[in-house]
């Protein structure tokens, strides 16, 4: 379970650090926060290549859900620009 713990700690640390940095630079758009969170989570998941198949399947499902949210944010932005 050491691998799981290190993965969770890294993701949690990155998300917290991103929040602190974006807040410090005065970022107010929530979609920016969300997009960066998703990118970080996806990159860290890809870097952990030694997860067992069951864990990888579970994380792929989470990635798919998060990516769906990302597409929703992007489509909202596209509609806003076109409109």
């Amino acid at each position: 379970m050491k691998l799981y713990n290190s993965y969770i700690l890294i993701v949690a640390g990155l998300l917290l650090l991103t929040t602190v940095i974006l807040t410090a630079i005065g970022q107010e758009a929530l979609d920016v926060y969300y997009t960066i969170y998703i990118l970080e989570a996806l990159v860290v998941t890809e870097l952990y290549i030694y997860f067992n198949p069951k864990a990888r399947r579970g994380l792929s499902l989470v990635s798919a859900i998060l990516f769906g949210g990302f597409l929703f944010v992007v489509s909202l932005e596209v509609i806003r620009i076109l409109g």
Partner: protein, 308 residues
């Protein structure tokens, strides 16, 4: 009357040997007799699952699928679900809303990982492992087997990975003419003296957890071993493999698995060495023997040699 749990069967007993399994037990102090040195050092925690399993009432109870990852995930979902609307409509803090989103993402990850944790507790797993090791050690001790085990690839054992322990320790060479049958006692060549015990080791079972057959190159073996040690079993860190003609040196970093010296471990090697030998034998499709093992707190080195 003083009663204790039998370390072998988990029953509550007041006399030695155990009336249920006839295992010698130290009721008041150390056990006397030939088995004294081989008695396993069970902790009170490792004895508990045996007690539970031997009790009919407890056996019917379904094990809880909720582990700490699931509980943390569920807690974070609640926190995130409360935090987002509160920060959006009540406090109007963007950073707090973003933090709520981050908490939700983390909760999804925890729930996904929590579903992959085995339902069997580590104590119950240790109990099953120790039972297997003790039984094998007893068989080896009774037969006086001292020769080094040879790790065979699946092609030599009709599909199932096995280990052969030659009963004749004087015969240093092992020449297997054809695939061996799935038996406990097998004759591995035409000579009448070439008889061995064919058993399953920890490594043989671990190799079945690999998704595909490992490649014969050093990097192929290295990645298969790291995947097993780090990703699947969680018993060590990264692995380094060096190939030198018919010798392979495997270095396992940060091992955190306890080594128990038993009669069978002298022949089969430690669990980490057994896994390394099984993976290498399957990758090279040749029989291997563990020639040397060195261990310190940071590294476990295993020397393997091709046989025949």
């Amino acid at each position: 009357m003083k009663t204790i749990l039998c370390p072998n069967c988990g029953q509550e007993i007041a006399e030695s040997p155990c009336p249920f399994c006839h295992h010698p037990v130290a009721i008041d102090g150390p056990v006397k007799g030939p088995n004294k040195g081989n008695l396993p050092r069970y902790t009170s925690e490792s004895a508990k699952p045996a007690k539970l399993m031997s009790d009919g009432k407890h056996r019917e109870k379904k094990p809880s699928s909720r582990n700490s990852y699931i509980w943390t995930g569920l807690s974070l979902i609640i926190i995130g679900a409360l935090l987002i609307p509160a920060s959006l409509f009540l406090f109007t803090f963007t950073w707090l809303t973003a933090l709520g989103i981050a908490v939700l993402i983390l909760s999804f990850i925890l729930l996904a990982l929590g579903r992959t944790i085995p339902k069997l507790s580590p104590q119950a797993s240790a109990l099953l492992l120790e039972t297997g090791i003790d039984n094998l050690a007893t068989v080896f001790e009774e037969l006086g087997v001292k020769s080094k085990a040879v790790y065979l690839p699946s092609s030599m054992t009709n599909g199932k990975l096995k280990v052969i322990v030659p009963l004749n320790s004087k015969n240093s060479t092992l020449k297997i003419a054809k695939a061996l049958p799935q038996r406990l006692i097998v004759k591995y060549s035409d000579s009448t003296e070439d008889i061995g015990l064919m058993v399953t080791s920890v490594g043989n079972v671990a190799v079945r957890m690999l998704e595909s057959k490992p490649g014969p190159s050093a990097s192929g073996v290295e990645s298969a071993l790291t995947y097993l040690f780090m990703g699947v079993l969680g018993v060590a860190g990264r692995t380094e493999v060096a190939v030198r003609e018919h010798h392979i040196r495997v270095e396992i970093h940060n091992p955190h698995i306890e080594n128990r010296e038993t009669w069978s471990s002298q022949s089969l090697g430690s669990p980490l060495a057994s896994i390394a030998a099984s993976v290498v034998a399957e990758a090279w499709n040749r029989p291997f023997v563990i020639t040397q093992e060195e261990r310190n707190w940071r590294k476990h080195s295993v020397e393997l040699k091709v046989v025949g």
